[in-house]
């Protein structure tokens, strides 16, 4: 019998992006033995792709001198269409200035105002500059800074390990199993606590801005372990993704003064958000663009124009150099000379693993933070600049919470980990030993297209129910999925297949949540129920996985100082 290696640590963090690294730094301060297990080297995490910035009421910028955490919180709650939990929003917005200053103190090179303070730019959903930035490469700069910090501490990193299951013992999470991608061996990770920081489920959808690795693995792991998924139907479609590849074109491009035009050279946002115009929140701008395209005012029936030419070469080169490079590299467009072709695309997962404000899930010993979690600071629609903020605020907070608890938790036995490895090995062998069947890539591409077509920017009951049926067909087809690649070394086709299995599972929670929510709120827009319905649906959707089936329940929203109002921009 194979003797599976089991690595014991105090805390195992799954995911090496901003949340995972920030939590690792925090929890390792007290000399705990912390490990980060990640399916890519931490520097290749999707956090690196965040462009526009991180919100904090620093009150540095002209026009924002009287900014405060309360104003930030109000904008966040209003932006969320009142579905965000106001206690979580309060924590995040209060902590924001300290979090940004701390990143600066760790070495991040933020863009600066003339007087040397951190520069801020306007973003959607706020009327003035609040978003701190490092040109249009904010995520890159933050991730490299946090990696440098984590790398200089005594933190064990397991790069290119794909976590295949969470392991429970006596009703508590005691670790996980993971496939070492480099050689195909299964490993157990025993831990007093496990923190999931695994990112979003963007690649459930075609036309996603997300890295190819964002397949909702964390949500699937937790769901299978009996943990609730919250508000999965809330998926952010970013208004401006590059036509062709759907690479993100930051909201900062509009924050710096970019205009949106339809094929009549009309700044059409005046018809949708006459005050906020291009800087209305993302859900509103995305629907406006999609409407223009659907009503034949787009170009080639596919996109509208984002025009930066009036900003001039200097401003574009200084503030948006990455956008210029992306436009040139991936679309052959130089935004100094001509408008960029943009269309809405999936961008962010508001829903995720249900956690309280301490990052605790329902399963003792299992925590979650960042995009994979739903705490919920974003509610039905996230404001630009709040996702980077969530990663560092809750990464630190949850890392600290866990560190406080660790001394009172005893070391788990390694036996359940070995047992789990045996089971996982059987599951994977079954997949590898199948000698014929259907190519997984077909199923995966059909799933992504189906989700975009049936659960996209505009939704209605009929289309969604058809989508759910298609999903069931795809799930059935997966039981016959086949891969040629039997090699153990860097078998990314196997990883791709394991990802797909999880995607098919959590897609159901998303689909059911969307079908049952018979209202329009934030990113979830129902053409058959175009109004928000606070009486029935000012609640969080909670999906449970019981006996192989998804069931829904609802939980109240934590309200607070901001009364629920109509949302007008």
């Amino acid at each position: 019998m194979v003797d599976y290696p089991v690595h014991s640590h105090d805390l195992v963090i799954i995911g090496g992006g901003l949340t995972g690294l920030r939590a690792a730094i925090e929890s390792s301060k007290a000399d705990f033995d912390v490990a980060v297990v990640s399916k890519v080297h931490p520097l290749r995490s999707h956090s690196v792709a965040a462009q526009g910035g991180i919100n904090a009421a620093l009150a540095n910028a002209v026009g924002g001198e009287d900014d405060s955490w309360e104003r930030h919180a109000f904008d966040t709650v209003k932006g969320s269409d009142y579905l965000a939990d106001q206690d979580a929003v309060e924590i995040m917005c209060k902590e924001a200035p300290r979090a940004v200053i701390e990143l600066e103190h760790m070495g991040t090179v933020f863009s600066r105002m003339k007087d040397g303070r951190i520069a801020q730019r306007p973003f959607g959903g706020a009327g003035f500059p609040r978003t701190c930035y490092a040109a249009d490469r904010t995520g890159h700069n933050l991730l490299h800074t946090l990696f440098e910090q984590a790398n200089s501490r005594d933190i064990t990193i397991y790069p290119e390990y794909y976590v295949t299951s969470l392991v429970k013992d006596g009703g508590r999470c005691v670790g996980c199993t993971a496939l070492n991608i480099a050689d195909g061996t299964l490993h157990g990770f025993a831990a007093k606590a496990v923190l999931q920081a695994t990112g979003g489920y963007g690649h459930l959808f075609a036309r996603s801005t997300n890295a190819l690795i964002n397949t909702g693995d964390g949500a699937a792991l937790a769901y299978r372990a009996g943990v609730l998924l919250e508000d999965m139907e809330f998926v952010q479609f970013h208004p401006t993704t590059l036509y062709g590849t759907n690479i993100l074109i930051t909201e900062g491009a509009r924050g710096e003064g970019g205009y949106l035009y339809n094929n009549k050279h009309e700044r059409f946002m005046k018809n949708y958000a006459p005050k906020a115009m291009e800087l209305a929140p993302r859900d509103i701008v995305a629907r406006a663009i999609q409407t223009e395209i659907d009503e034949r005012r787009g170009f080639e029936g596919e996109y509208v124009h984002l025009d930066l030419t009036h900003l001039g070469a200097d401003k574009i080169n200084q503030r948006l150099p990455g956008i210029r490079l992306i436009s040139m590299d991936f679309a052959g467009i130089d935004p100094i000379a001509e408008p960029i072709s943009v269309q809405p695309g999936q961008h962010y997962s508001m829903g995720g693993i249900a956690v309280n404000t301490k990052g605790e899930t329902e399963l003792t010993g299992l925590y979650a933070a960042g995009e994979c979690s739903c705490v919920s600071v974003h509610g039905a629609n996230r404001l630009g600049g709040n996702s980077l903020l969530e990663t560092v605020v809750f990464g630190k907070l949850v890392g600290g919470e866990i560190a406080q608890k660790l001394p009172s938790i005893s070391k788990p036995s390694t036996e359940p980990l070995k047992e789990a490895c045996r089971k996982e090995s059987e599951r994977i062998d079954k997949l590898l030993l199948r000698e014929e069947g259907e190519r997984v890539s077909n199923i995966r591409e059909e799933l992504r297209k189906m989700m975009f077509d049936h659960f996209g920017v505009f939704r209605d009951e009929k289309t969604m129910k058809e989508g759910l049926e298609k999903l069931h067909m795809l799930q059935k087809r997966f039981s016959n999925a086949y891969i040629d690649n039997k090699d153990l070394v860097f078998n990314y086709t196997l990883i791709y297949t394991l990802e797909l299995e999880g995607m098919l599972l959590i897609a159901e929670a998303l689909a059911l949540g969307a079908i049952e929510r018979r209202e329009s709120r934030g990113s979830h827009f129902r053409t058959d129920y175009p109004k928000r319905d606070d009486e029935k649906f000012l609640v969080h959707t909670m999906a449970y996985y019981r006996d192989g089936k998804t069931e829904l329940e609802y939980a109240p929203v934590t309200l607070g100082i901001f009364p629920v109002k109509e949302r007008v921009y």
Binding site: H41, H46, I213
Partner: protein
Amino acid sequence: MKMKVFRYDKETQKPRYDVFEIEPTPGMTVLGALFYIRNNLDDTLSFRYSCRGAVCGICAVQINNVPRLACRTQINSLLEGTAEINLRNYPVEVKEKWDPREEVLVEPLPYFPIIKDLIVDKTRFFEFYNATKPVFKPADEPPKRERLMDPETVKELENYTNCILCAACVSSCPVNLKNPEYIGPAALAKLYRFHIDPREPRDDSRVLLMNNKTGWWGCEFHGNCRRVCPKGVPPIIAIGKARSRIDKIGKVPPEFSKK
């Protein structure tokens, strides 16, 4: 067109080139073509990927004998000859013939040990990175608010903080390819980034850390690092400036002194 792809696995230990016939769609990148192959023609092909938007640095491979990001290199521009990068004094010999008008040759980065197909072991690259002690060391206790920085200084710093650690530069550097001890352009650019950070002590300890042949003095100014960098980072300029600084403070090691 044809993709000529390097293949290797530990079991057979016999490197070979597989040829795949594909119809490039407009804008198709080398990464897109690799996925097309894996999804439709041969799912045993191994390559790394993540952001597919030229920011994560994971997918650098050798394309037509030049190290570059697979996600940022378009098939058509290669065939049309509009994406050429001319390397200087590049010692990597072409092992497989290909016709650049009809074929794209994809191989693993040279310099690193090959593990499987296009996947290499980058351990050494991160050893070089770590050798520069790449973590911010401020000169003083943190103030209550942010430390102030001049926007012009930030601009200069951004030249180097833009590095995505893809290792294309190391793979294109003639010195790296002949001197296994040389820590190479990416690590030196990182070190220089900390040297010019005005929030760090102004004591030259950063430049003096690599005041030897494995560091600043190993460079021969071939300039390939700058040519292949997908982010426009100029390690060659950092190296030149670091040497000038060392010269100015009179710390040039005798073996590198012009006098």
